[in-house]
């Protein structure tokens, strides 16, 4: 099967993730969309690795997973504490950081 199709899939997943980040208000869903974008990138890396015949892309994919795991820990902690203090997980409610 032509590896370029996987790139199309990756682009599609990334677009879905980006759109989700921009239009959803629920912090959990936004977070999931970010994960979707990260994994779309991972897919692209792996595909490039396959196409170019070296392992660089796969190594970077592992890095991304490790960073994503760390990010999940921190991000979920923030979301949980946000929910505890405001009883809401809407990202638009937390709009105090402005002039």
């Amino acid at each position: 099967m032509n590896p370029v199709n996987y790139l199309y899939l990756s682009a599609l997943l990334f677009t879905i993730g980006a759109t989700g980040v921009l239009i959803r208000r629920n912090a959990i869903v936004v977070f999931m969309c970010i994960e979707l974008m990260l994994n779309a990138c991972n897919l692209a890396f792996v595909v490039f690795s396959r196409m170019h015949g070296n392992l660089d892309g796969q190594i970077i994919a592992f890095f991304t997973m490790v960073v994503a795991a760390a990010e999940v820990v921190v991000g979920l902690a923030i979301i949980v504490s946000l929910f505890r203090s405001r009883h809401s997980a809407s990202v638009d409610d937390a709009s105090l950081m402005k002039l």
Partner: protein, 637 residues
């Protein structure tokens, strides 16, 4: 013996420190401390003088190095003193006349509650003036130069409760600053040109000529003109002469010591000391003679019209210093005579001022000569001493002014060419006017009928002779006025004394000395005769008549203050106003405009900070999209 030089300065400096820091407990003895220390300085000077006389003329330069003041790399400025025949002359004049005036002040300032402070300032002046004439480099000279300026300021404004005195002090200080700027620029020029400003290497010592003549004539002329500017400020020469008349607001002993005998002659000292520079810059010398000649007539004309006895004498001082500056500008034919006239002038002018002070003392501090008259019966000692000073200043044959002034007039003619004729003519004319205004002062004060009236509170003045503390200095100075000139001139003593330092050459005069003397005598009689006809034969009106155009101009100091006001004050005001306008519109416009546009822009930019995470995400995606698009575009190109 040479270690005594520092003591000359240390004695009055100690006096100033003790008197000014000592506080009230010294009020009762302050005048004695000041006088004794001034006299001590004179005794040291006399000892040094005796020592100097014992040596051959070649080794009469004493030096003393105290310490290194500034040492940076190759550059060194030392605190050191140089006592040669020129400084010795000044030191004797300063400490001698200074001590006499301290004694006089004991009587004159007897009833002043701030007497201790007065003596402190007088001592401070002596110390600064001695530093000025003893310094062995221009930088240290500058310290003394500023010191005498400070002392002069403090003493002119001594009666600071009088607004006129406070203003006069400020005026003297400000005008002097202009001159001081000239001196500091001259020092900077010397340093950049020669790399040093010490007298030894620069001006030369016994047998060695200095490096001063080696620079280009343009640079030397610039240095010389800056030195002349300094001299003009300190010595009240045109165009910086306006302060001297107002300086008479100070107590009379101050006028006698600082504004007649010593400080105002510092400019002449500076020019004669820098002879090596001036000799190599003929253009500058010409300017010096012109300044001297103009001031000579200027001061004399002002002196003719003043009714205030001290201001008349101030005009005379200006005029006599004009003679000295003129002589100093003539080069080696005039230096010695400039200093000789300076010394004899120190005697007779200090004597005249002390006489004026004595008259004021007996007349309830009245200074208007139109309210004197007939005082010779009431103040015989003052009359005789003042009279001798009068005869000396007009150049009566045999008295000191006769010898010193005649020599200057001869030297002016000996300059040669048209210049010589003009300068000589001016000097002769000055002698006639001198005779006129001094006769006027003499007649109005001591002769004629009495014209004094009760003052505002109805006190009739009771003219009386002053106490002996005041009359004795006057008598001593009168002796100097009578005999100093003859003593200096017989056998050319003074010329031989100063020649090793200043150099001397006989000029080749187109008119014989006898002709000059005869012409001077004729003009003297004419000047004095006119004054006698005007003031001796007819009675003097108590209120001044309106007078001719020239009289009215001279009463207002030939409009010098008006000139300064219109040209400098108004001009300065307009300049500052236009500068302020430029500052407000242009400079502030640019600065404020920049600030306002940055502020406005940021006011708009901050609207982007709305706190919604999703809108930040949009800008992030947008930015990333633009970056990607740009990268692709660049690659396509």
């Amino acid at each position: 013996m040479e270690n005594l030089i520092a003591l000359l300065i240390a004695a009055p400096l100690l006096g100033a420190a003790v008197l000014l820091c000592g506080g009230r407990r010294l009020d009762a003895v302050g005048q004695w401390i000041g006088t004794v220390l001034a006299a001590a300085s004179f005794v040291i000077a006399a000892v040094l003088f005796a020592d100097m006389l014992g040596k051959s003329p070649e080794d009469r330069t004493f030096t003393q190095h105290l310490f290194s003041w500034i040492a940076v790399g190759d550059f060194r400025a030392d605190v050191g003193f140089q006592l040669d025949q020129l400084s010795m002359t000044f030191v004797l004049l300063i400490t001698g006349v200074g001590s006499l005036i301290h004694v006089y002040s004991i009587g004159y300032m007897e009833h002043d509650e701030r007497r201790r402070r007065f003596f402190g300032y007088l001592n401070l002046f002596l110390a600064a003036m001695l530093l000025l004439v003893l310094a062995d480099n221009y930088l240290l000279l500058y310290v003394g130069w500023e010191g005498v300026g400070l002392a002069s300021y403090l003493l002119i404004g001594f009666w600071q409760h009088k607004p006129s005195a406070a203003t006069a002090a400020k005026k003297a200080f400000l005008v002097n600053r202009v001159g001081d700027m000239g001196l500091s620029i001259a020092i900077m020029l010397m340093f950049t040109t020669f790399g040093t400003f010490a007298f030894g290497p620069l001006l030369g010592t016994e047998g060695h000529s200095g490096i001063a003549g080696d620079a280009g004539e343009g640079k030397l002329t610039a240095i010389a003109l800056m030195l002349l500017l300094a001299a003009c400020g300190k010595s009240a020469q045109v165009p910086l002469q306006s302060w001297l008349g107002d300086a008479m607001e100070g107590p009379t002993p101050v006028s006698a010591l600082i504004h007649a005998a010593t400080m105002v002659t510092a400019g002449v000292y500076l020019i004669v000391r820098s002879a090596a520079v001036f000799n190599a810059a003929p253009d500058a010398q010409l300017v010096v003679t012109v300044v001297g000649g103009v001031t000579l007539l200027f001061g004399a004309i002002v002196g003719c019209a003043k009714d205030d006895i001290k201001k008349a004498l101030a005009g005379s001082t200006m005029s006599q210093i004009g003679y000295m500056v003129l002589a100093a500008g003539l080069g080696p034919i005039g230096y010695v005579f400039a200093i000789m006239h300076l010394v004899t002038h120190g005697f007779f002018k200090a004597g005249l001022f002390l006489g004026a002070g004595s008259v004021m003392h007996g007349m309830n501090d009245e200074v208007d000569m139109r309210k004197f008259g007939g005082l010779r019966k009431y103040m015989p000692v003052t009359f005789v001493t003042f009279g001798l000073g009068y005869l000396a200043i007009i150049g009566f044959p045999g008295l000191s002014g006769f010898f010193s002034k005649d020599k200057i007039i001869e030297a002016a003619f000996a300059k040669g060419g048209t210049e010589g004729w003009i300068l000589g003519g001016v000097a002769l004319l000055g002698a006639a006017i001198t005779a006129y205004y001094m006769t006027r002062v003499m007649i109005m004060t001591f002769f004629g009928e009495k014209r004094w009236q009760p003052d505002a509170e109805g006190h009739e003045p009771h003219p009386h002779e002053s106490p002996s503390s005041m009359t004795i200095p006057m008598i001593v100075l009168a002796f100097g006025s009578v005999f100093a000139g003859a003593f200096f001139s017989i056998g050319d003593r003074f010329v031989h004394w100063l020649e090793p330092v200043t150099g001397h050459s006989e000029g080749d005069s187109p008119v014989s000395a006898l002709t000059v003397t005869a012409a001077t005598m004729v003009l003297l009689v004419v000047g004095a005769g006119i004054a006698y006809l005007q003031y001796g034969r007819s009675s003097v009106p108590v209120t001044a008549p309106r007078g001719s155009l020239l009289t009215r101009a001279a009463r207002r100091d030939l409009y010098q203050d008006d000139f300064n006001h219109v040209v400098l004050v108004r001009g300065g005001e307009h300049l500052t106003r236009s500068l302020v306008y430029v500052d407000h519109t242009l400079v502030d416009g640019v600065v404020n405009g920049t600030a306002a546009s940055v502020g406005g822009l940021s006011g708009r930019l901050r609207k982007l900070q709305n706190g919604y995470a999703r809108s930040y995400a949009v800008s992030m995606f947008g930015g990333a999209a633009i970056l990607v698009a740009a990268t692709l575009l660049m690659r396509a190109v």
